[in-house]
């Protein structure tokens, strides 16, 4: 499997996936236009760690393309568009965000042909009183029969922030399977009670729950997991300094 790593130093405009690929993306403080085309029958796994980005990212998936995105970021205002252009194209997209500033994260999923599938997990921890928005729209066209389209959106509020989720399913077809959920709030009190009843302090509970929310469901091997945990540790500490 081909392994590609791109960061701020690379020319990012077009990435064309013509063989099964692992793509590592590491971006900081940038506003880039990035197109990622996944050709017929190709598998792409993305491991993305970003800080302070406002990128425009477009994924185009051809027939039978399979994509998994494991994206963890801090202060993210990216606009991501996913075009499922080919039959049986499939994407699992995990976007986990640590938020400290005013940010809007937008993602649009377009099911343009039949038998396409998307599962989108957008989870954010908003640490401050700043504003965070998830704008999530899935568009299923009339031609796209027997599609599966799922969204799970969650914002955990740690600092009385202004939080919004706009989850949209725009469906022009009866023969599809679609679900969406949205939650804004604190960690649940019964969960905190259970953890504290085993001796964990409030701070320990918060840290484990935040880490669990941010890394949960993602497809990380041991090496990636270590890098993602380091990212959370580094940015969690930044949050404490800001308090």
């Amino acid at each position: 499997m081909l392994v590609l790593t791109v960061d701020n130093k690379d020319k990012l405009d077009d990435i064309i996936i013509t063989e099964d690929t692992i793509l590592n993306i590491r971006l900081k403080e940038c506003q880039e236009d990035i197109n990622i085309d996944v050709m017929d029958n190709m598998c792409l796994e993305v491991f993305e760690l970003d800080c302070n980005t406002s990128n425009k990212i477009v994924y185009n998936l051809r027939e039978n393309a399979q994509v998994i995105v494991n994206k963890l970021s801090r202060d993210n205002s990216d606009v991501t568009t996913i075009n499922l252009n080919g039959a049986n194209a499939n994407i699992k997209y995990y976007s986990k965000i640590m938020n400290y500033g005013d940010n809007t994260y937008q993602i649009d999923i377009n099911h343009l042909v039949s038998h396409t599938s998307s599962a989108i997990y957008n989870h954010c921890v908003n640490f401050t009183d700043k504003e965070f928005k998830f704008l999530v729209s899935a568009n299923i066209t009339k031609n796209a029969v027997e599609c599966s389209c799922n969204q799970d959106n969650k914002i955990i509020d740690m600092g009385n922030g202004k939080n919004y989720i706009s989850p949209n399913l725009l469906v022009d077809n009866n023969l599809i399977n679609a679900n969406h959920s949205a939650y804004i709030g604190k960690f649940k009190q019964d969960v905190i009670f259970y953890m504290k009843s085993r001796g964990l302090s409030d701070k320990d509970c918060e840290f484990l729950l935040i880490k669990g929310l941010l890394l949960g469901n993602m497809n990380l091997d041991e090496k990636n997991n270590e890098e993602y945990v380091t990212f959370i540790n580094d940015n969690f500490q930044v949050g404490e300094e800001n308090e």
């Binding site: 009190q189 019964d190 969960v191 009670f193 259970y194 953890m195 504290k196 009843s197 085993r198 001796g199 964990l200 302090s201 409030d202 320990d204 484990l208 729950l209 880490k211 669990g212 929310l213 941010l214 890394l215 949960g216 469901n217």
Partner: protein, 245 residues
């Protein structure tokens, strides 16, 4: 070990515990039985320090210290453990990191990874649990029986001195109940000063973990106390008949 003195507790506008008294000495096993809605689970949560309830009066003394004002985690680190009736699942938090954090919270030096793995493996084997559970999120996708075994695993790893078993027998099949109770008895043999408070509707669990005292609780207070045989008297006669005696 534990002394509850004239404890009155309310939630919303309902008085649930009413001048409740109970004294449990080191190494004793007590059982509380009672009809639904009488305050048994409230009692367990109040001992653990839940903020859901308002203490109107009374004290909870643990090892000669008034713990009424202590937070939940402080009570736990002093040695109190509540095995819950319905253990919840926690997304993304693995059993391994949860228990290791809990263990480290109660000792001055963090436990070495190798020692922790050895402790977990040995205890999971005793409980007939699969090894991969350590890497799974707490209770996610687990059956009722697996959740109860996980509670006992936590007891064996964290080594509390006072254990509350809140309807630990509910949702357990015969084999799982036997394994759970055998492990609790083994823990008692290894830690003879450990005291246990069993909250249950049925005498079945008491055949495995034999109590020194059985209390009948009705309407927020203990109305009658007996020895082990009292549990079977309750089973035979029912609560209402015994209350009216």
């Amino acid at each position: 070990m534990l002394k509850i003195e004239d404890l009155s507790v309310k939630v919303a506008d309902h008085n649930i515990l009413k001048e409740f008294n109970l004294s449990i000495a080191d190494g004793e096993v007590h059982a509380i039985m009672g009809p639904n809605g009488t305050g048994k689970s409230t009692l367990s949560k109040v001992i653990m320090g839940s903020h859901e309830y308002e203490i109107l009066s009374g004290k909870i003394i643990f090892n000669d210290e008034d713990i009424s004002a202590l937070d939940v985690d402080e009570r736990s680190r002093k040695g109190i453990f509540l095995a819950m009736q319905t253990p919840i699942s926690i997304e993304g938090v693995t059993n391994s990191e949860f228990l290791r954090t809990a263990l480290n919270a109660r000792q001055s030096e963090p436990i070495a990874l190798f020692d922790f793995i050895k402790t977990m493996e040995s205890n999971m084997k005793d409980l007939d649990m699969k090894n991969d559970i350590v890497h799974k999120a707490i209770n996610e996708g687990s059956s009722g029986g697996e959740r109860k075994k996980n509670e006992v695993l936590q007891i064996k790893v964290l080594k509390p001195s006072f254990i509350i078993l809140d309807e630990v027998d509910s949702g357990l099949d015969v084999d799982s109940l036997r394994i759970v109770c055998e492990n609790i008895n083994k823990y008692r043999q290894e830690n003879p000063n450990t005291s246990i408070l069993i909250i249950t509707h049925y005498s079945r669990i008491l055949e495995y973990i034999k109590p020194d005292y059985v209390h009948m609780m009705v309407d927020g207070k203990i109305v009658k106390t007996g020895d082990y045989n009292f549990a079977f008297e309750i089973d035979k006669s029912g609560y209402s008949e015994l209350v009216n005696e």
